[in-house]
Each structure stands twice: as structure tokens, then as C-alpha cells.
Amino acid sequence: MRVLAAMSGGVDSAVAAARAVDAGHDVTGVHLALSANPQAYRTGARGCCTLEDSRDARRAADVLDIPFYVWDMAEEFREDVVDDFVAEYAAGRTPNPCLRCNEKIKFAAVLDRARALGFDAVVTGHHARLSDGVLRRSVDLAKDQSYVLAVLRPDQLAGAMFPLGDTTKSEVRAEAARRGLAVADKPDSHDICFIADGDTRGFLARELGEAPGDIVDAESGEVLGRHDGAYAYTVGQRKGLGLGRPAPDGRPRYVLSITPVQNTVTVGPVEALEVDEVRADRPVWTNGSPDAAFDCRVQLRAHGAVFDATVQPTADGLVARLAEPARGVAPGQAIVVYRPDPAGDVVLGSATITEAVRTATV
């Protein structure tokens, strides 16, 4: 096959490209330029689209002896990922930009362009297993990225190759070293690639401006403090509330909800975070929409805990009833539905969380 290897400059995508070459594919490397101003994004282990990363990717392509190009996707990335990220926070939700990037950039804009140029698939270094349209968790559960890939439709998965799903991260690094790839010991990238200093709150303040409002107690309705912008808070957050005094019961307060219209952040005790029913919309089913309720496992945030659940498909989404309560379920995050399988849990689909409630009493 003619495959396009998306090469970030990191070790995973370099080894994935190498494996595609070994498998006999005709491989072309492409680095995605996602920033209109790449220097701005360059700090330590953060970021995935600095000039240095671009050079690392090119060097890896040279070692593999494959053609290499840089594709300018800055405009698409800004519109579909960064602007979406900002708008979601402004609406009181907590987005996952990596998931959006996979959905809109890597396996949409890039895959579509690749197909138009005569390529059959896009190969990436994601840690997940994919064969015959079935997406499973990586064997390396600590590095598993099936959560941020679960948003892909079947036609997108049909054009994707993830050669690293059966390999642990440490094995990938060892293999990179064996292959003479200089990125073998390059640090993993962390956090959000387009927020170079890791200061999401500062980034949002620059994008959205300050919007001071009240921090309100969920039970008493009392105003406990002020905030500079409700968008900077996430359900389940405890740190950085800046409440000057302890709650009457002396226990810490957590963000329970964000109400953009009133611009309030509502806080309460930890048990008020517990939910056992999660509603979600914009469903994507990897293998057709189920027609009846079914038992499964769900994951409610990246690298988050997994819950046994019963999922009921609805007209425009799903309702998941959790066997055990979950804490800190934030609207805007994805609920990913897995079918337990000894050969690796299988992704059945995903949807965007709209609401999480408590139906049973403790």
C-alpha cells in the first residue's frame, strides 16, 4: 500500500513509520505544521509542532530513507481544534483537543488529502490496536490512546494504521535505539501542544478576556468567593479555587458545575461530585449503532478509571448507567464505550458528555 506516515518528531511516530516500511509499504513521511508561528510553541517537553520537532521528524525520515514533506495544517488546526477548545471552555465544558485533532485533522483533513493524492492510509504512532476495523486498547495500558481515537468513524478507521498497539512504550524506545533513530530517548510530550507554557488558564484568559463572577456554594447558595472567568474551571477541580476561608464543615470544596450564562462556578463537598448516570450526544459507533441497551465498560476521561455500565442508545446519543459512582465527570469530555475482551478491550463507540447526574442515594 501507499501510506502516509504522520511524523510528529517523537519516537512513537518514527517507529510506526519504520514498521510500515518493514511491512513493505511505500511510505512517505509528513510532518504537520500546526502552528502559524512555530517558535511560539517551543518549550521543553511540551508542544508537538516546534521547528525542532520538524527537524527531528525529517531526520528520522532520512534514516528510514523515505521522502519527507511538511504539510501546513495551521489554518485547519486553529479552526477545528484551538477555536473549538476555546469555545468549549467558554460554554462551560471541558474539551479534549487531542481527540478533536484526531477527528478533524489527522484522520480527516490529512487523511482526505492523502487519499486524494493517491495514498491508501495514514499511519501514526498512536498506542492502540486496529485490525479489520476493530479498535482495541494497546497492550501498554498506561500508554493506551484508544480513548482519543474512539471518535473515529468506520471510514476514518479504514484509512488508519496503528502499528504500535502490540508494543509497550519501553519496547518502542528500545526498537528506536536499535534502528538508530536519534529520537529514541526524546522525552514524551505532555499537556496541550498549543499551550507551550502549560498554563491553560492563562491561555484562556488571553483568548476570552477576564470575566469575573461568583463562586457559589451548592447547598446554601452563599457566595463564597470570586473568580476571573468561569471558563477556567473544570468539574471536579479542587485546587486554585482561591476561597479565603474553609467551608463550615472544614472539608475541601470541589467544582460541581459551571454556568456560563450566570457566569458562576458552583462548589460543594466531594460526595456531591458523585454521579451514576451519564448522558452524552454526538455518538460515533465504530461498528454500527446498537439498537438496545447493553452491558459494557465506559471511560469518562483520558487516562481515567473504567466503570462497568449499562448503555442505552438514544435518538441522538446515549445514556450510561454506572455500576459504581464516578467523580468529576465533566461535560465536553468523551464517554468511550468498550466491550471487555481478553484479547484487548474493544472500542464500540464514543459520545460527548452533556450531563452527569446522581440518581441513587448513597
Binding site: H31, A33, Y69, D112, R113, A116, L117, G118
Partner: protein
């Protein structure tokens, strides 16, 4: 493999390579006083005379450098600094709008850091600086102008400038003219003395010589402040131990390029016309950029409406045809060419461009390989471009 990127760099001529290898095997610093040094110096000076002879210069006017970028930096900064030192009111640089970045960025450096004003000299739709356009830029600044820099021939679209005419106009106002002639040597007649230019850039690797060696032809009555300081080589204008083997090979390349120019440019321009006709037949809406007549014999530069140049380049590369978008990259991302923008093209047309440049190794088979691959590549690139920008 069809190599259609001679404007980027040319294959080294076999006789030049042999001369390089032979000279590189000998020890000697041309500044040393002993026998080895004398031998090295002799090789350098013979090379200097050889270059002077073939480019219409005097040997004392040849300042060896590391190539085009250094020569351009030396001319823009060095002449501007020297003129400013002699006459503090001379603080304006007149720079052709389609110059290479070695000129543009040197001028912008002077504007940002050295309190200098840069005035662009506009080009017409064919990329040409006319006498009128230089007059328009120069007249308001005649008392303040330190230097005019207009390239002999454009590296992207191949348009050849009327340098003697422009130099004469600059001279009427007492302003020196520098010209970057790296693309012109061996392609069109270049006579430094007759041109009236004060300084002229030439480099080895565009004419079948090695990369990393070139010269600034600099009239001895034109003051130039050094950019590189050190041992005082090259009239104190350019310090640094001379690359004897590079200089020897470069000089031979200049001689061969000039001696073979008439025959070579006739052959190459015939091939180029074959290429242009073939591209027009294969892609009827392709637009030839640059001056249809006054252009480099090896240059064919097209815009392909609805195609992104970088997609087309990738597809042609995969088919074994090597060409260029011709424009500078920023982090590997092709920017819309400032040359085409200066010629009045919009960003979309600028992004849809490809440069095919032929040279001494080009054959009909290269042109045929391009024409075989091009129609399919254009179709695919159009589809991909439509997919990418449906907004």
C-alpha cells in the same frame, strides 16, 4: 530521475571536480610565506585573473567569499556602512522587490538595527525593473541613497533585468548599484566592467562549480566595510583563510560557463521551449510566469490554477521528477512567493507555482519524463487542493 532544479544547484562539471580534487590534495595557506604558501597563492591569483578575464573585471576587483549569500550580505551591509560613514545623510537602500532573501533580509536587518530606510523598487507583471520604476523609487531619495541593488536575473521566474541601463541611471545620481548575478553567469552575457555596476555577486554551485565558494566583484573605488574581520585577506574586505581548492574549481567553472555560454544557452533554451510547449499542451490553463522573452534560457516557471505547488512537487518527486516551488520555506512550509506577489499575483496563484530549471546536464528525456508525469499529477493535486480548502 529527471533533475529539473538547476536553479537550486547544478551538477559539478567533471573537469571542475578533477581540478578541485587535485588542488585539495596539496597543502598550503595562501597567506604563508614559504614555498607551499607561495604555490597556494599562485593558484589563487591565477584563479582570480581567470575569473576577472571572463567576467569583464580586473583581478583586483575579485573578492573571494563563501558564496552568494555572503557576497550579497557584504555588498548590502558593507557598501551601505561605508557610504554612511563617508556621508551620514546616505541612509536609504533601494532594493528590487523580487530580490533573493540574501538581499532582502540583509536590507531588513539594516532597517531594523542600523537606522536605515529600505525603499522597494517595484517590478512590472513580468517581474522586470524598468528604468522608469527605478527612477520613481530613486528620485525622491537621490540625496539620501547609499545603494541600489537589483539582481541580474531572478532565481524564481527567470526574468532578466536591464542592469546596465539601471546602473547608468543610478550613476547619474552618484549612487552605486549592486547586482546579484548568480543565476545569470553562463546563461546571459555578463560583463562587470561594461555593466556599470559597482558590485556583482557570483557563486560557484550555480555554474557547475562547488558549493561554498563565490565572489563579490567590487570596484576598487567603491568603499566597503568588512562584515568578517580577521587576518585581512582579500583587500581587508573579507578576512578568512582562502579555500584554495574551492577557488581553483570555481574559477574553472566560471571560465567554462562563460566559454560555453552561447552554445549552452541555445541548447538549453530550445529544451526549455519544448518544455513550455509541452506543459501548455498538457495543462492548457497553466500560466507561464516571468518575462516571455527576457528570461533565463533554463527557466520555466508556471502557475497551475487550482493546484497547490507543494502537492504537485510531492507527486512529481514520487514520479522521479525533481523541481521546486522556487520560494523560500518557513519551517518547511512553503510561503507564497514574494516574487510572484510583487509581480501582482494573488496568494493563491503564488502558492500554485512550480519552477522547472534546466542546465548543462538536461536532456530531452528529462522534459519527456516531466510531460509524462505532469497531467496525472495536476489532476491529483487539484483533487487534493479542493479537498483541503473547501471552505
Amino acid at each position: 530521475m529527471a533533475y529539473l532544479d538547476h536553479a537550486a544547484t547544478t551538477p559539478v562539471l567533471p573537469e571542475v571536480l578533477a581540478a578541485y580534487v587535485e588542488a585539495a590534495g596539496r597543502t598550503g595557506n595562501a597567506s604563508s610565506l614559504h614555498a607551499s604558501g607561495r604555490a597556494a597563492r599562485r593558484a589563487v591569483e591565477e584563479s582570480r585573473e581567470r575569473i576577472a578575464e571572463h567576467l569583464g573585471a580586473r583581478p583586483s576587483e575579485v573578492v573571494f567569499t563563501s558564496g552568494g549569500t555572503e557576497s550579497d550580505n557584504l555588498a548590502v551591509k558593507g557598501i551601505a556602512w561605508a557610504r554612511r560613514a563617508a556621508e551620514p545623510s546616505r541612509d536609504v537602500l533601494l532594493i528590487g522587490a523580487t530580490e533573493h532573501h540574501a538581499i532582502l533580509d540583509s536590507a531588513h536587518f539594516m532597517a531594523e538595527r542600523q537606522d536605515t530606510t529600505v525603499v522597494p523598487v517595484e517590478v512590472d507583471a513580468a517581474g522586470r525593473v524598468t528604468r522608469e520604476s527605478l527612477a520613481k523609487a530613486l528620485t525622491p531619495y537621490a540625496e539620501r541613497a547609499a545603494l541600489v541593488s537589483v539582481m541580474w536575473a531572478n532565481n524564481e521566474v527567470g526574468t532578466v533585468q536591464p542592469v546596465p541601463e539601471l546602473a547608468a541611471l543610478a550613476a547619474e545620481h552618484g549612487v552605486p548599484l549592486h547586482t546579484d548575478a548568480v543565476q545569470a553567469i553562463g546563461a546571459v552575457p555578463v560583463d562587470f566592467g561594461a555593466s556599470g555596476a559597482a558590485a556583482l555577486t557570483v557563486t560557484g554551485h550555480k555554474i557547475g562549480g562547488p558549493v561554498g565558494v563565490g565572489a563579490l566583484l567590487l570596484r576598487t573605488d567603491v568603499a566597503c566595510t568588512p562584515v568578517l574581520h580577521g587576518g585581512g585577506q582579500e583587500r581587508d574586505v573579507r578576512s578568512g583563510t582562502l579555500d584554495v581548492a574551492g577557488v581553483v574549481a570555481f574559477a574553472l567553472a566560471v571560465e567554462l560557463a562563460v566559454r560555453r555560454r552561447a552554445e549552452q544557452s541555445a541548447r538549453v533554451s530550445a529544451l526549455r521551449d519544448e518544455l513550455i510547449a509541452g506543459v501548455r499542451a498538457a495543462v492548457p490553463d497553466a500560466v507561464l510566469n516571468g518575462d516571455p522573452a527576457d528570461r533565463l534560457p533554463g527557466n520555466a516557471h508556471f502557475s497551475f490554477p487550482g493546484c497547490e505547488g507543494d502537492a504537485l512537487l510531492m507527486l512529481l518527486d514520487a514520479a522521479g521528477v525533481e523541481c521546486s516551488t522556487g520560494s523560500a520555506c518557513s519551517a518547511g512550509v512553503a510561503q507564497p512567493s514574494h516574487v510572484l506577489l510583487a509581480m501582482g499575483a494573488d496568494a493563491e496563484r503564488a502558492r500554485s507555482s512550480l519552477r522547472f530549471s534546466l542546465g548543462h546536464t538536461s536532456t530531452s528525456a528529462d522534459v519527456a519524463a516531466l510531460l509524462a508525469a505532469l497531467p496525472g499529477a495536476v489532476d491529483r493535486a487539484r483533487t487534493a487542493t479542493a479537498v483541503k480548502r473547501p471552505r
